[in-house]
């Protein structure tokens, strides 16, 4: 289980860097657009591409935020509890997150499948085939759901075997900056 969790952690770090690079590409394209605009060379469609980058970077980034314990939680009641009770809080939190993540991924499929069915292209002059950005976007949410389910299972096992500290490590809260 340790190995699985550390694989998840490392995979998400890599994915985060990839998502970050995608954002950096988007910065570059935007800059190119601004610089060339006075000369009438503007690409057109920068906004459209930025939108896709945002959707994709978001769907792949949520897993990294999950494994680095960055999703905001309100700590008011939890801090006043014993560490065993805190582990229960963490379990409820990760179970609800895994549930929501699964529902999002499940409900994401019809978006992509309709696009494939109708061969949908963006309602722009660029006519981007939408299956390209949407499959990358959808895959991100599926990965998020998988990450969350793996974490949830591990946390349930840890709680059942009374390992509160391990719970804190993989699904606890971090003094956030």
């Amino acid at each position: 289980m340790k190995a699985l969790l550390s694989f998840l952690q490392r995979a998400n770090e890599r994915l985060a860097v990839a998502a970050g690079l995608l954002l950096l590409v988007s910065v570059t394209v935007t800059l190119f657009d601004i610089v060339t605009r006075p000369f009438g060379l503007s690409l057109g469609g920068t906004d459209e591409l930025s939108g896709y980058a945002m959707a994709i970077a978001t769907s792949w980034g949520v897993s990294y935020a999950l494994t680095s314990l960055a999703h905001v939680r309100i700590d008011l009641v939890r801090t006043r509890c014993s560490s065993r009770l805190q582990a229960l809080f963490d379990m409820v939190a990760i179970l609800s997150l895994a549930g929501v993540a699964t529902i999002i991924a499940y409900r994401g499929w019809p978006v992509l499948s309709k696009t494939i069915e109708t061969n949908a292209t963006a309602n722009t002059t660029l006519e981007t085939p939408l299956w390209i950005p949407q499959s990358l976007w959808f895959a991100g949410w599926v990965w998020f759901a998988l990450s969350a389910l793996v974490l949830a299972v591990c946390v349930v096992v840890f709680v059942a075997s009374g390992k509160s500290e391990e719970v804190q490590d993989v699904a606890g809260m971090r003094g956030e900056v």
Binding site: V27, S59, L76, S96, L97, G108
Partner: protein
């Protein structure tokens, strides 16, 4: 229905379930129990459409800009330059804290990042010069909150996105209130320290020569602010484009400080993705919740209920402000904004208030939430950097500034022009 929504919100948040997840759960619950539409069939479409946004990509751009700037080492020089100008006032270095926070706010979109940056350069000085830690660290926590009022501001982008208010207009509207608040902070500091000098520290006067030469160190940040805000106001660039230019300039600044390394770049990217994803889960959750609230008629029910009370718009507004202050003790900034925007903004607009103006008032109230205990993110950030002394120091030190914010809220309600002057005249 109203009880279900507000009760459910608070209960799930208290369970320490991630805020974004709470918003989704609430939407699922409302859909299942109250909606005539099987809304969740459209969930995927909403998640796609709300995150496929060229407006929202300004958020990671501004976060990345901040990540690079923090690692560039420019904060230290800025602080010394501002210290030379302001620390002769009663309260000494505390004014440098506020001034540095103000200047960083003008380039950073986030309050937490602003507070962290200023704290990291200012706290070593407090120990060295023997300042009373309370007011000193309270000023950093409070000054940092300006990060979301003075443009650029991630929170204003989110507000504009969710309420369909013009983001450039919101940026304009935040400028005067932000600067005014900074001045009020300084006045309050000076008055407190003049009355009780032991709360401040030794005033340090600098020579005019040092002041003038120090100005050169302010050029990077002022240039960055001028470019970002100037191009947006002139209409040359959208907030997203201005943010991209800002990223390029931040790289340039970091390059002149020889701070760019492969490691630094990777850390910046990871930090950016983490923060962005965290924000986006909450924003998408709010979007889904808004969809359900409207479709299930909760927004209308709430408006009817409030109209039924027959109170004056002002009374209603004051109740809303009070609710924000109370919730602000317990709920962190962005979550507070995003969870309440779908419910509150339609009501306020229905009362006849300007959504632009209310955006600024709301920012002010969530700024206050950042420095009110027990959940005050900026207090924790400053304490985290301090690493010594009790947390209560920061908490107590921030109280005068929280009161100043209340005064500012009163001014904003009495004189809406403070926020609306620039957007209507530029």
């Amino acid at each position: 229905m109203i009880l279900f929504t507000s009760g459910g919100l608070l209960a799930l948040l208290a369970l320490s379930i991630p805020v974004g997840v709470v918003l989704f759960l609430l939407a699922f619950g409302l859909d299942a129990f109250f909606s005539p539409f099987p809304l969740m069939r459209g969930l995927g479409q909403i998640v796609w459409s709300s995150s496929n946004s060229a407006t929202l990509i300004a958020i990671p751009f501004f976060v990345l800009l901040g990540q690079i700037l923090v690692r560039s080492g420019v904060a230290q020089k800025t602080y010394s330059a501002l210290e030379a100008w302001f620390s002769w006032l009663p309260g000494g270095l505390i004014h440098a804290n506020i001034a540095t926070a103000t200047l960083f706010s003008a380039t950073s979109g986030s309050s937490v990042a602003t507070a962290a940056t200023v704290a990291s350069v200012a706290t070593p000085q407090a120990d060295r010069l023997g300042y009373d830690p309370k007011l000193f660290s309270g000023a950093i926590a409070a000054g940092g909150t300006l990060g979301i009022m003075i443009p650029p501001s991630i929170n204003l982008i989110v507000y504009g996105f969710l309420t369909e208010t013009s983001i450039p207009q919101l940026f304009l509207a935040g400028l005067i209130p932000g600067l005014l608040l900074a001045v009020l902070f300084m006045i309050v500091t000076a008055v407190i320290c003049a009355l009780k000098p032991s709360l401040g520290g030794p005033g340090v006067s600098a020579t005019w020569q040092r002041r003038i030469t120090g100005l050169a160190d302010l050029i990077p940040l002022l240039g960055l602010f001028g470019t970002i805000v100037g191009t947006i106001y002139a209409g040359w660039a959208t907030p997203t484009e201005a943010a991209a230019v800002g990223v390029a300039m931040a790289f340039a600044i970091a390059a002149t400080q020889k701070a760019i390394t492969r490691q630094m770049l990777i850390e910046s990217l990871k930090g950016t993705v983490k923060t962005t994803a965290m924000i986006m889960l909450v924003v998408i959750g709010a979007y889904v919740l808004n969809f359900v609230l409207t479709a299930a008629g909760v927004s209308r029910a709430l408006q009817d209920f409030l109209q039924g009370l027959g109170w004056s718009p002002l009374a209603m507004l004051l109740v809303i402000v009070l609710i924000y202050i109370v919730l602000g003790f317990f709920i962190e900034t962005l979550s507070l904004m995003v969870a309440t925007i779908p419910i509150v903004v339609p009501i306020v607009v229905g009362l006849g208030y300007d959504p632009l103006w209310f955006g600024i008032l709301m920012i002010l109230l969530v700024e206050m939430a950042l420095i009110t205990p027990p959940v005050g993110l900026n207090l924790y950030v400053v304490q985290g950097v301090r690493k010594s002394g009790p947390f209560t120091d920061v908490m107590i030190g921030a109280i005068p500034y929280a009161i100043t914010m209340l005064v500012m809220a009163g001014l904003l309600i009495l004189f809406p022009a403070i926020a609306l002057y620039l957007p209507t005249h530029l």
